[in-house]
Symmetry: C2
Subunit: 505 residues, 2 copies
C-alpha cells in the first residue's frame, strides 16, 4: 500500500502489502485462537489503558504521519488523538462499571405455576470482530477507534481492515495496540491490521468472523452489509453509512438570530473541510426576509473560508461532480459556488432551492443524498405545512437539528415540541440549537440512526457501542461453583444487577 500526500498527490512511502486471502484467514484464525485471553476483565481494562498510553507516547509521530496522509492538520489531529485515547479509557471505565453485562437474575421459585427454575443472564463476547476503518477520522474511527475499543472492551478480538487513505497511520496505531497487548501479557493477535480492498471482502465472509463494524459510504457499506447477510451464517453488520443531517430553522429562530445561525452553519459545514459524517448537509430556512438574512450571513462567512484539501483525489473528483450535478438542477442557485480551488484544494460553497422542488421526487431527490465535502443546501420552505411535507420525504440520519425561537423553546405544547416530534423519527440524535458536528464521547451519546445512517439500531460512539459485540446467554440451574463471578450470589465484582425484579447498583 502506498501512503499518499493529498496536498501534493505524491506517493510518500510504501507501507505494508495488500493482504491475500491467506493473510485474512491467518489473521482471523489467530484472533479466534486467542479470544479466551480476553475473558479476564482486569486484563481488558489494562489493555485499553495501555493502548491509550502507547498512542500518547507515540503521539507526535502518529499525528505527523496522519497529517501527511490526510491533510487534516495538526490541531485537529491532536484533538482527535485525545478523543481516541479518551475513548479507550472510557471503555476501560465501562468494564469496571459492569452495567454493560446487563445481568438479570431470577431465583428459583417453586410456588409459581409452573415452578420457575433459577435463571441468570448476562452477556458474553460474540467472537472475532471485523472493523472497517473510516477515511475521515484516521484515529478516532480507524484502527484504534471506537469500534476497536468497544470490541476489545467486550472481550472480542479485532481484525481491522485499514482505510487506504492512511496506511502508514494505520500501521503505527496498529503497532501501538499490539505493543499494549504484549505489555499486559496478552497475545498481540488480539488486534491485527490488514490492508487492501479484496482483504475487506474476504474478511466479511470468513466463517470465524462473528460481527462487523463499518464507517464509510452508503455504497461500500451496503455491499458489505449484503455480504454479511448472505453468509451461510449471517452476522450482525453495524455500519454507519451516509447522513444528510438536516437542520430546521423556524421563522422565529430566523427572526431572532439569523446572523448567529448563518455564521454557525458556515463553521459547522466546513469543519474538517466538510468531511464530517455529521456535516449539516441540508438546511431548511423560512422563505422571506429573516431567512434571506441567514443566507446572506452564510454567504459572507463562506467567502472568508480558505479552500481546503480533501482526503484523497477520488473524493475530490466525487465532490466536484456532486456539486456540479446539484448545481445544474432546475431552480438551484449557488450564491457561493463550491468547486475547484488552487492546486488540489476545493472551495466551500452552498446551494439554495425552493422547498416545492423537493416535494415531488424526481431528479431533485439528489439533493436528499449526502455530498461529502464543504457544501450544503439551503432549502427555503414556504410555510409550516410545506416544512412538514418536506420532512416526511427525508431519509434516515445520524442527526437532525432544530433552531427555535426563545418562546418556542419554552412551550411544551407549541411549535417547538411539534417539530421535535417530527424530527425524532428521522435521526439517532436530535439537537435543539447548536450544530451536529462534534460528537461527544459520553454514555448518553447515540451516533447512529435510521437507514442509511446506520444498518442497525446501534451506536458507534459512546458507552452503549459495546452492546454490538456481545450476545446474551442465560444459565438455568447452574450450580454456584460453576457460575461466572458476575452471576454468583455474592456478586464479587460488584456489577449492577436486576435480581428478582429489584435493581441492585
Amino acid at each position: 500500500m502506498w501512503s499518499v500526500d493529498p496536498r501534493t498527490g505524491n506517493q510518500r512511502e510504501r507501507v505494508a502489502a495488500e493482504a491475500t486471502a491467506g493473510d485474512v484467514d491467518g489473521a482471523v484464525r489467530a484472533a479466534h485462537a486467542v479470544r479466551g485471553a480476553l475473558a479476564d476483565r482486569e486484563v481488558r481494562i489494562a489493555l485499553l489503558r495501555a493502548a491509550a498510553d502507547e498512542l500518547t507516547a507515540d503521539g507526535a509521530r502518529i499525528i505527523a504521519t496522519a497529517d501527511a496522509e490526510t491533510a487534516l492538520g495538526e490541531a485537529r489531529l491532536t484533538g482527535e488523538l485525545g478523543r481516541t485515547t479518551g475513548q479507550l479509557r472510557a471503555f476501560a471505565a465501562e468494564i469496571e462499571d459492569g452495567g454493560y453485562l446487563d445481568v438479570i437474575i431470577d431465583r428459583a421459585d417453586d410456588s409459581l405455576t409452573p415452578p420457575r427454575p433459577d435463571l441468570r443472564r448476562y452477556k458474553i463476547p460474540v467472537g472475532v470482530v471485523a472493523v472497517y476503518a473510516a477515511s475521515n477520522f484516521p484515529l478516532a474511527f480507524s484502527v484504534p477507534g471506537g469500534d476497536t475499543a468497544s470490541a476489545l472492551a467486550a472481550g472480542s478480538p479485532v481484525v481491522v481492515k485499514a482505510h487506504p487513505d492512511h496506511p502508514a497511520t494505520s500501521e503505527l496505531t496498529g503497532a501501538a495496540l499490539r505493543r499494549a497487548a504484549a505489555k499486559v501479557g496478552l497475545p498481540e493477535d488480539v488486534v491485527t491490521v490488514l490492508h487492501g480492498f479484496e482483504a475487506g471482502v474476504e474478511l466479511i465472509k470468513h466463517p470465524l468472523v462473528a460481527a462487523a463494524g463499518f464507517t464509510g459510504s452508503v455504497r461500500g457499506g451496503r455491499a458489505l452489509f449484503d455480504a454479511a447477510a448472505a453468509r451461510p451464517q449471517p452476522i450482525p453488520f453495524h455500519g454507519e453509512l451516509g447522513s444528510l443531517n438536516p437542520v430546521v430553522v423556524t421563522e422565529a429562530a430566523a427572526g431572532e438570530k439569523a446572523a448567529e445561525i448563518g455564521a454557525g452553519l458556515a463553521g459547522s459545514m466546513t469543519q474538517g473541510v466538510g468531511q464530517f459524517c455529521t456535516k449539516p448537509g441540508l438546511v431548511l430556512v423560512p422563505a422571506g426576509e429573516a431567512g434571506e438574512q441567514l443566507v446572506a450571513t452564510l454567504a459572507k462567512r463562506l467567502a472568508d473560508v480558505a479552500p481546503g484539501v480533501l482526503l484523497d483525489g477520488r473524493m475530490r473528483d466525487a465532490f466536484l461532480a456532486g456539486v456540479d450535478a446539484r448545481t445544474r438542477l432546475d431552480g438551484v442557485a449557488a450564491p457561493v459556488a463550491a468547486g475547484e480551488g488552487e492546486g488540489r484544494t476545493v472551495a466551500a460553497g452552498f446551494l439554495t432551492v425552493d422547498g416545492e422542488r423537493l416535494l415531488t421526487g424526481g431528479e431533485h431527490d439528489l439533493l436528499l443524498e449526502e455530498c461529502f465535502g464543504p457544501i450544503t443546501v439551503v432549502v427555503r420552505y414556504a410555510d409550516t405545512a410545506q416544512l412538514t411535507a418536506l420532512l416526511a420525504r427525508f431519509p434516515g440520519n445520524l442527526t437532525a437539528t432544530l433552531h427555535l425561537g426563545a418562546a418556542e423553546a419554552e412551550d411544551p405544547n407549541g411549535r417547538g415540541a411539534a417539530l421535535l416530534a417530527e424530527l425524532t423519527p428521522l435521526a439517532g440524535r436530535v439537537l435543539v440549537g447548536g450544530w451536529p458536528t462534534g460528537v461527544a464521547v459520553t454514555p448518553a451519546q447515540h451516533h447512529g440512526g435510521p437507514y442509511p445512517a446506520s444498518t442497525s439500531h446501534s451506536t458507534s460512539v459512546g458507552a452503549t457501542a459495546i452492546e454490538r459485540w456481545l450476545r446474551p446467554v442465560s444459565y438455568q440451574n447452574a450450580p454456584e461453583a460453576l457460575l461466572p463471578p458476575e452471576l454468583r450470589d455474592d456478586n464479587p465484582l460488584g456489577v449492577p444487577r436486576r435480581v428478582n425484579g429489584t435493581r441492585q447498583v
Copy 2:
C-alpha cells in the same frame, strides 16, 4: 383459509380469506397511521391487561378451537393460555418498571475539553412490527404471543401473519386483542391479523414495516430474513428458526443417575408430540455400561408413550421422511423406531450412533439438523477428546444441557466447569440438569441463540424481548419543556436512569 382438524384431516370450517397485496398494504398503513396512539404508557399498560382479560374471558372457546385445529390437547392449551395472558401482564409490568427505556443522561459540562453538551438518551418504538406466528404454540407464539405482546409494550403496532395451521384460533385471539384495544380507547388497527403465504411475503417488503419477528422453520425464516435484508431500507428480522438442543451426559452423571436421565429424556422429547423448539434432539451419552443403562431406560419409557398427532399432514410427512433418511445412515440403529402410528398418529422413537460417525462431515451431518417431531438421536461418545471434537461441530442452538455427576457440579476447576465453557458458545440458554423444554417467562430468560437458532442476538421470551422493537435516540441540549417525561430532570415517571454515570433506580 380452511381450518383443518389434524386428528382427521377434515376441513372444519372456512375462516377468513387469504389477504391480497392490497389487504397487506391497507393493514400496514392503518397500523402506521395509529402508531401515535400507543405513545402513552398508561394506555399501553391498560391494553396489555385488557388483552389478557379478553383472552381469559373467551378462554373456553379459544382452547376448544385451538385443540380442534392443533390436536395439542386441552390441558396443554389451558397452560399455554395462562402463559400467554401471563406474558401480556408481565410486559405491562415492564412498562411500569421503565428500565427497558435504558435512560442515560449526561448533563452539560463546560469544564471538559471539548465541553460536553447536555445529552439524554432513551428508546423509542421502531414503528410497525410484522409478526410471523408459529405453528406449535397457537397462543403463546402466535397472534397474542410474545412477539405481539412485546411489540405493543414497546409502543409499536403489529400486523400478524397468522399460521395456516390454526386460522380459526388466530381469528378468535386477534378479535380479542382488537376488543381490548377498543375497550381502552385505542384504534383497533394497533393489531391486525392476516392470512396466507403471499401476504407474508408482501408484508416483509412493505416500506412502512420497521421490524419483524418470526418463529418457524430454518427454510421459511431464512427466506424472510433474506427478504428483510434485501429491502431498499433493510430492517431487523428477529427470527427463531431451528435448534438441535444438544444434551451432554458425563460419565459420572450416567453412572449416578442413568435411569433418571433416561426417563427425563423420554418425557422431554415427547412433550407436545416432540414439537417443541427446545426438544432435546441430540443426546451425547458416554459409551459403555452406564450409557447403555440410560439408553435402555429411554427405550423402555418410549415404548409406553402413546402415539400422537402432529400439527398437520405436511409435518407428519416431513417427520416420517426425516426419520427414514436418518435411520438409513450407516451405523445408525433405531432401538425404538419412530414412525407411523394408527390413523394419523406418529410413534415416538430414537436413534443411536457412535460419535466417530459425526466427526468427519458428509451425509451423517443430517443428524446435526433438527427433525421436528418425537425423535431424538443418542450419540455415544468414546472419550473426553471425542466429546470436545463433537461439540466443536455443532450449529447454534436455543439451548444446551449438561448433566453432571454430583462432584463435577461442585468443582469450579473441574470437568463440569470445562464442559459448561464448551457449551456456552453453542446456545442462548445453558442448563445444568433438567430439560430444555419449558421456557420460563421471566426477565432473565433468553430464548434465542447463535444461527440457525436465531437470526439476531435477541430473545423472543422474557422481558428483554421488548428490546427488539425499540431504537435509541439521544436529545442534545433540548430544553426541559420539550423533553419527554422520561428524560426530564424531575423524572416524573420514576424510571431507572443512569445520570452522569450514577444509576438511580
